[in-house]
């Protein structure tokens, strides 16, 4: 079977090429639970010492579970806001004859192109003035609004592929414009909603700079800020601990990818397949 051997060779080559990457991941896991004397590569003992942050608070740091919950609230709330606003705003921009529609679309695109960092000082001042500095609500609102331009554009693209006739038929069948949107049009864009939801959740989960600047306090800390706090202290560096928490931080992301990877592909192939 020359064909099977041919593909076997290709697989072997690919395996060799990706081996360093795989090895690094394996070592990441091993080092969090292994005891190795300095200078030695392979561990000679097993320890959960580096995972102790799960059951006891590290000195001067917040409780890991509270921080995880904060991160989860932060990412989910951002996602909910982004989905709610994008799915309605995208529809309006795609279908309803609004005044200044073209300018609005162009404006949204400009906002998307704007780098977040340039805005951060202004946002900091605004939050401080309205009393939302160092609160989850404040940083959620900021993150959601920065994610919105992309979300609105993606959803508008999905709505654009839904045939007008479906909408006309719905109106003709006696349904209000809102019912048409909810029962006829929204189901056609579910691939977009799902993909956008996963994207915003991951963006929220991995966001660092906004919480770091706008909500650094222990009570409202998220995982990325907690992690950064660990290596801020130059005198007491513990790489194994840092790796363990990093691993803990990335687990939800991996799980999300495992469940949704086929749905994520859909973001390029939306629309009705009727």
């Amino acid at each position: 079977m020359p064909r099977a051997r041919g593909s076997g060779i290709i697989v072997a080559l690919l395996a060799a090429a990706s081996a360093p990457l795989v090895l690094m991941y394996v070592f990441l896991v091993i080092e969090t639970v292994g005891e190795a004397p300095p200078g030695q590569l392979l561990p000679d003992g097993f320890t959960l010492e580096n995972w102790r942050f799960l059951w006891e608070d590290l000195p001067g740091k917040a409780n890991i579970w509270a921080v995880t919950l904060n991160t989860f609230i932060f990412a989910s709330a951002t996602t909910v806001i982004v989905l709610a606003v994008s799915s309605t705003a995208g529809y309006a921009l795609s279908r309803i004859n609004l005044p200044f529609r073209a300018y609005f679309l162009a404006g949204v695109l400009v906002l998307h192109a704007f780098p977040t960092v340039t805005l951060i000082i202004a946002i900091f001042l605004v939050l401080q003035m309205i009393g939302l500095y160092n609160t989850l609500t404040g940083v959620i609102l900021v993150k959601a609004s920065l994610e919105l331009p992309l979300g609105i554009w993606i959803m508008k693209g999905f709505y654009d592929t839904v045939p007008w006739e479906i909408e006309m038929a719905g109106v003709q069948d006696g349904a209000s414009r809102f019912t048409v949107w909810r029962r006829l049009i929204l189901p056609q864009v579910t691939p977009g909603i799902l993909a956008l939801g996963v994207f915003s959740f991951l963006a929220g989960w991995s966001e660092f700079i906004l919480p770091q600047v706008l909500a650094p306090d222990n009570k409202v800390q998220v995982l990325s800020v907690y992690l950064a706090g660990l290596i801020a202290d130059d005198y007491d560096l513990n790489f194994a601990l840092f790796k363990s928490i990093g691993l803990f931080y990335v687990i939800p992301v991996v799980i999300l990818y495992l469940f949704f990877q086929d749905k994520l592909m859909n973001i390029y192939g939306g629309g009705t397949k009727g």
């Binding site: 045939p163 006739e165 479906i166 109106v171 069948d173 006696g174 397949k273 009727g274």
Partner: protein, 352 residues
């Protein structure tokens, strides 16, 4: 329900697409809006169902002025060219949707759906998604959805355009049967004259936003008001000959052949330029005569043959004849025309 369109005007920006159109569809009648693409027939349809805002004029259902009514309030059933079935719902939900929106009770909806799907012979497809239906089945589902609310008016926008030829024949009679059975007033928009003639009680033929003629199919075929109408109806199409009147007869341009004019046209003044419309079935071969030419093209239709005859002087006449083997391209033939069936138009195309 009677539909009355009065002085209907539609503009898109600065373009007046339809200018002061008048049309009446009688209760229980099926009327075809026939015309080339871009003539405003779909625009008229969308105005009747309420998707287009009327710029001027009125639309009445029965004696009720519905001009300002929303599409939801008008109770009009529409079948779109693409059928516009809801892709994520199965056949049952598609058909039931108009009643679900009205919040009718579940058992009543189920009863009505089984009634209407039985009438359209799709009751075995209720669980299927539109993607798993053939074109003809999708068409039937679209019809069922349009009819389930017992609308006063049924509008069909090119309903057969997406079907293959054989299915088109079936659906033609099927739609007509349904319309008769329900006694619903219907408007059919089409660019296909065969559909319009075979399905409808009357035809309104449109061109560039104007209705040229409204008449029954047979009447319109026999008595077209203009060359546009005469040319649009009939397959194979009518042939036009141009020439002048002299001594009460028609003299073909570029030829010495004289043709008798039908009754009522002898009084036309000498030297007037006119066009003569000759349908293919009114051209017969003759042994001799002044009208002669070369057979330039033969097309086999099975039972009949279509012959193009290029007359002396270059104008072309079409003739349809029972299949015969004795005429070949290139041969010279003589023709005789059925004088009283000839259609006489002036130079601008208006019937005389």
């Amino acid at each position: 329900m009677r539909i009355l369109i009065e002085n209907f005007t539609k503009r898109f920006g600065a373009d007046t697409v339809i200018d002061a159109m008048n049309l009446e569809v009688a209760d229980g009648e099926m009327l075809a809006l026939l015309g080339p693409s871009g003539c405003g027939k779909s625009t008229t349809l969308f105005a009747v169902c309420g998707l287009h805002v009327v710029d001027d004029g009125r639309i009445l259902f029965g004696d009720e002025d519905v001009t300002g009514w929303s599409p939801q309030r008008r109770n009009v059933g529409v079948v779109f060219q693409s059928y516009a079935l809801y892709p994520h719902m199965n056949v049952f939900d598609n058909v039931a949707f108009p009643l679900q929106v009205k919040r009718e009770p579940g058992p009543a909806i189920r009863r009505r759906v089984s009634e209407i799907t039985a009438m359209l012979e799709i009751e075995h497809l209720l669980e299927r998604l539109p993607a798993h239906l053939s074109g003809g089945q999708q068409q039937r589902v679209a019809l069922a959805r349009a009819l389930i609310r017992r609308p006063g008016v049924l509008l069909l926008d090119e309903p057969l355009a997406n079907l293959d030829a054989r299915l088109r024949l079936d659906m033609r009679s099927e739609i007509r049967r349904l319309q008769r059975e329900t006694g619903i007033t219907a408007i059919l928009v089409t660019h296909d004259q065969v559909e319009a003639m075979s399905m409808c009680d009357r035809i309104a033929i449109m061109d560039r936003g104007h209705v040229h003629q409204i008449a029954s199919p047979a009447d319109m075929y026999r008595n077209p008001v203009s060359t546009f109408v005469a040319g649009f109806l009939g397959n194979p199409p009518i042939a036009f000959l141009s020439g002048r009147v002299r001594g009460g007869r028609f003299w073909l341009d570029g030829s010495t052949a004289g043709i008798d004019l039908p009754g009522g046209c002898e009084a036309l003044e000498d030297g007037r330029e006119i066009r003569l419309g000759v349908r293919p079935e009114h051209v017969r071969p003759a042994d001799s005569g002044p009208l002669s030419g070369k057979v330039s093209f033969v097309e086999t239709h099975g039972r009949e043959n279509l012959y193009d005859v290029t007359l002396n002087g270059g104008q072309v006449l079409r003739s349809i004849q029972p299949v015969r083997g004795d005429i070949a391209p290139g041969q010279t033939v003589h023709c005789r025309l059925d004088t009283d069936k000839l259609l006489v138009f002036d130079r601008e195309g208006t019937r005389l």
